[in-house]
């Protein structure tokens, strides 16, 4: 070993100062070159450092919100200085006399109790275990009390009251539900899958009702869904609404979930976002996830992840599992069971063991997996959406859930790693390979901790968000209904729903609903209405892939110009160009060019577009070279670009080439003709210009004699034809013959 061997501590100190992984890797390589022992030592230190960081993060989370005591003269505001004394049967708590102990859950003991006034009735009284800040629990309950009072649903057990026991422990009073938990009820009565699904639909409706009142359950699991018999009919009842939120100790007391009972939510049922340390960025879709787990269990007899293993693996591991691991589909879960378990589970479902997996495979698998999506934007957006898909299955209609495609899986992989690796997931992931495991772990932890800090800050603003939840839930439900109306081809109703909407929360389902309705309006010639839908769509569609987004922009631009909203078009294209500054994909760039150059452009816009046009042109060359012939749409985009830049001969050349290339796509031919007419006229070839214009004009006008319909790639889509039409009007005006009227002047009869 050389005399200049650096100390491991020194290497570590330097490593810790570096801002990023790539540099650290380089440094580690350099510092430890040819010295595996040193490298090992440094990696051990890094490992320890990661643990230390975690240890301190846990500690400071306990401190983060701990100054309340100061406000209370004479101490203590936290917990109560009394040991765990069981409330005795027969004693009174507030207005309630305890009659019988009926259960004990993770966070408390439940009693049957009697209320004497104002009405004599039996209730369930749940005393929360020690370790909660009573004052805050009750305050949080009070905050939600009004909303809770609004809930009125046959499948929801009402929460009636809350208070503190003499020893200072919080308690809740609920409608007494005497029944069995849903999973036990189903198994005990050997209910088959169909009956289970019917019960499940009712549970979804209950949750949906609560969501529409702005209440998230946060702890949906079999023990919170009881089944009672009313006139011999099983009725599921969801209990404990509002309690999870009120007892969510994380804000005040214990942000890191140290023991199972302090964890709000139950490991096996909790959504990935709810398990995150802040746990506050949750909305109604978190309940949709838990419903998915419940459905998974009702069908397969297991939860997607083993709850005990999750709890035992520790919080960080558990979060990672929820965030990153894909559970087996229910059918695969059933198939992988030991024979004994399978027989038991099948018998409980009145099914043959050999056939159970087959019954689950396909639609039921996909319904469950859609509810369990890691990214809530890809789940069912509402509990109703989930219920409807289950109903579709029960009625043998096609379900909305679909197996994920390869591309989609890849996107998920990238998305999943975003937290760890930052936005440039793929690049960094490549760098990580070959780096020591401890280093990787350290940086992963550090990134996670940083993220956590950010989330904690966000959490403080979340109280305000709660009020917005109700609106969001409503908006999602409306989008959901619109999507369903569309599948039933009830477009007018769907449109009416969407029309009344403010900006809804981003979601894939919502985007496709707006896109469909927008398209339908467009092919009816209702350009302005279509433009309104697309204006909303562009705001909703922040999640989808590049391909759809750019096409949406092209459509919106086309609609604005076609409806004569020229000022809005100018604004739109300026914003669009600013948003798409960084181009990534040639085909997308072609669309942006088309969307941005529907009308003549000023030099500022041309300058702003030119980086994008450069990439577009390069891609055009590449694609065309590969195909052996100029790509027609690429060529049209490039010709339009050249024309708008004043390069008339360049534009004419591209169009001429395309027209001689035996192109069979009618809309491309007409578009090329119009562009050629424009360019020829500018070049002084007036007779030729007039000729091209006349040749193309009749075909285009002819196309709009009847409603064009959505169209297809071969015949041309409506937006392609409108695009050709817009250029035709420009050419007509230029050639100074009589410009034909805009299509919107004589809208075709609605279909």
């Amino acid at each position: 070993m050389s005399a200049t061997r650096p100390l491991p501590d020194e290497v570590l100190a330097t490593l810790l100062e570096l801002p990023d992984l790539a540099q650290s890797r380089q440094l580690l390589d350099q510092a430890c070159a040819g010295d595996p022992d040193l490298r090992n030592e440094v990696e051990v230190l890094l490992q320890t450092q990661a643990e230390a960081e975690r240890f301190f993060a846990d500690g400071s989370s306990a401190l983060a919100l701990g100054a309340d005591d100061l406000a209370t003269p004479g101490l203590p505001g936290i917990g109560v200085a009394c040991p765990l004394v069981d409330e005795r049967i027969g004693t009174r708590i507030g207005r309630y006399q305890l009659l019988e102990r009926i259960g004990e859950g993770g966070c408390g003991v439940v009693y049957r109790a009697e209320q004497a006034e104002p009405v004599r009735r039996q209730v369930a009284l749940k005393v929360i275990k020690l370790g909660m800040d009573t004052k805050s629990v009750i305050a949080r309950f009070e905050a939600e009390r009004q909303a809770l009072a609004l809930m009125d649903h046959p499948n929801i057990a009402r929460v009636l009251d809350a208070g503190a026991t003499e020893t200072g422990r919080p308690y809740f009073v609920m409608e007494l539900v005497q029944g069995t938990r849903v999973s036990e009820y189903c198994d005990g009565n050997c209910l088959d899958l169909r009956v289970r699904l019917q019960l499940f639909v009712q549970i979804c409706h209950a949750i949906q009702h609560a969501h529409q009142k702005g209440i998230i359950h946060r702890d949906i699991k079999p023990s919170n869904v009881m089944v009672t018999l009313q006139d011999g009919v099983p009725v599921p009842k969801v209990i404990d609404f509002g309690i999870a939120k009120a007892t969510d100790g994380r804000l005040t007391d214990n942000p890191v979930l140290t023991a199972a009972e302090q964890f709000v939510g139950t490991p096996a049922y909790v959504s990935p976002e709810q398990a995150e340390r802040s746990g506050l960025d949750i909305d109604t879709r978190s309940d949709v996830y838990s419903l998915g787990v419940l459905l998974y269990e009702l069908l397969s007899g297991r939860t997607p992840f083993d709850g005990r293993k999750l709890a035992e693996s520790g919080m960080e591991r558990m979060r990672r599992t929820l965030r990153e691991s894909d559970p087996p589909r229910p059918s695969a879960m059933v198939k992988s069971m030991p024979a004994g378990d399978l027989t038991r589970i099948a018998v409980n479902r009145n099914a043959e063991p050999a056939r159970l997996a087959g019954q689950l495979r396909g639609d039921l698998d996909w319904i469950v997996m859609k509810a369990l999506e890691k990214d809530r934007a890809h789940r069912y957006q509402t509990a109703n959406g989930l219920a409807l898909d289950v109903q579709r299955y029960l009625e043998s209609e096609p379900v909305a859930a679909r197996p994920p495609s390869q591309l989609y899986r890849f996107q998920k992989l990238v998305r999943r790693n975003k937290l760890v690796f930052g936005a440039a997931a793929a690049v960094v992931a490549a760098l990580v390979i070959g780096l020591g495991a401890a280093t990787r772990l350290y940086f992963r932890e550090r990134a996670a901790l940083r993220e956590e800090g950010r989330l904690r800050a966000a959490a403080e603003a979340s109280e305000i968000r709660e009020t917005a939840l109700r609106r969001q839930a409503e908006a999602r439900e409306r989008m959901n209904q619109a999507a369903i109306l569309i599948t039933q081809q009830r477009y007018v109703e769907a449109d009416r729903l969407l029309d009344a909407m403010e900006i809804p929360p981003p979601s894939v389902e919502g985007a496709s609903a707006f896109r469909l309705v927008g398209n339908l309006l467009a092919i009816q010639g209702r350009w302005q209405d279509a433009a309104e839908r697309f204006a909303v769509l562009l705001k909703v569609d922040t999640l989808d892939n590049w391909n759809d987004v750019t096409l949406d922009h092209q459509l919106y631009g086309t609609e604005l110009v076609e409806s004569g909203e020229l000022d809005r078009y100018q604004r739109f294209r300026r914003e669009m160009v600013a948003n798409f500054e960084v181009s990534t994909n040639g085909r997308a760039d072609w669309r942006i060019l088309k969307a941005g150059l529907l009308l003549p452009a000023d030099p500022v816009l041309i300058t702003a577009l030119s980086p994008l046009a450069t990439v577009a042109e390069r891609d055009f060359m590449v694609v065309s070279r590969r195909a052996g012939v100029n790509d027609p749409w690429g060529s049209i985009s490039m010709a339009l670009w050249k024309y708008r830049c004043g390069d008339y001969s360049g534009a004419a050349e591209l169009c001429t080439l395309c027209l001689t290339n035996k192109n069979e796509y009618p809309v491309q031919i007409q578009t090329d003709r119009m562009l050629l007419a424009l360019a020829d006229w500018q070049l002084g070839r007036r007779a030729q210009a007039q000729g091209e214009l006349l040749l193309g004009r009749d075909v285009i006008l002819d196309k709009f004699k009847n409603p064009p319909g959505l169209g297809n790639a071969h015949q041309g889509f409506w937006w392609d034809w409108v695009f050709a039409g817009i250029l035709m009007r420009e050419a007509s005006a230029l050639v100074a013959t009589n410009p034909p009227p805009a299509f919107s002047d004589k809208p075709p009869a609605p279909p």
Partner: protein, 185 residues
């Protein structure tokens, strides 16, 4: 408030004694401010120690006191006060959780993985006492950052160190404390 200001001025002359005098004053001030804040806030709201310290300082400034030396010492004293307050609280909570009665945690009986955040705070406080002997500067950084919630920049200003040094020392102190705790559990 004027008491604090004069006590702060005294710090410059007789550091140790003045710091001891300062602590109860800062403590009282934090207490008053916390009570006022809690009365204004909605029920169920909780106070962040860091925010409280900064607010207390802002009140001082509003009263016309804005010399650098005072600010540094105020934050130092506030961090000490916060340490005591938070440790008391963590100890109470931890005692409840461990069945009451225990005056202090017995480190050797703890399973590190199973400790609550409050236990962790107590363990860090214990370890910090050793670090105070081994490396007073690092220990001071821990008090200011961990209990006082100061930023690297504020700590650097407070101790007259470079910001990068603070970052490095803070990381290294965390490693040291953690190893100390682990070696004894």
């Amino acid at each position: 408030m004027s008491d604090i200001t004069s006590a702060l001025h005294a710090v410059g002359r007789e550091p140790n004694q003045a710091a001891e005098n300062l602590l109860p004053l800062v403590y009282e001030d934090l207490r008053r401010l916390a009570a006022a804040r809690m009365a204004q806030e909605a029920a169920g709201h909780t106070l962040q120690p860091t925010a409280l310290v900064h607010d207390a300082w802002m009140q001082l400034v509003a009263n016309g006191d804005r010399t650098w030396q005072n600010r540094a010492h105020f934050f130092g004293a506030a961090a000490d006060a916060m340490r005591r307050i938070l440790i008391d609280k963590a100890r109470r909570k931890s005692r409840l959780r461990h069945g009451g009665g225990l005056a202090r945690l017995d480190i050797s009986e703890l399973d590190l993985a199973g400790t609550t955040p409050d236990d962790k705070v107590l363990l860090i406080d214990e370890a910090l006492k050793s670090l105070e002997l081994a490396d007073p500067v690092q220990a001071r950084i821990v008090v200011l950052k961990f209990f006082g919630g100061l930023s690297n920049e504020e700590v650097a200003e407070n101790l007259g160190l470079g910001e990068r040094t603070v970052g490095r020392q803070w990381a290294s102190a965390k490693g040291w404390l953690f190893r100390w705790i682990r070696s004894r559990s």
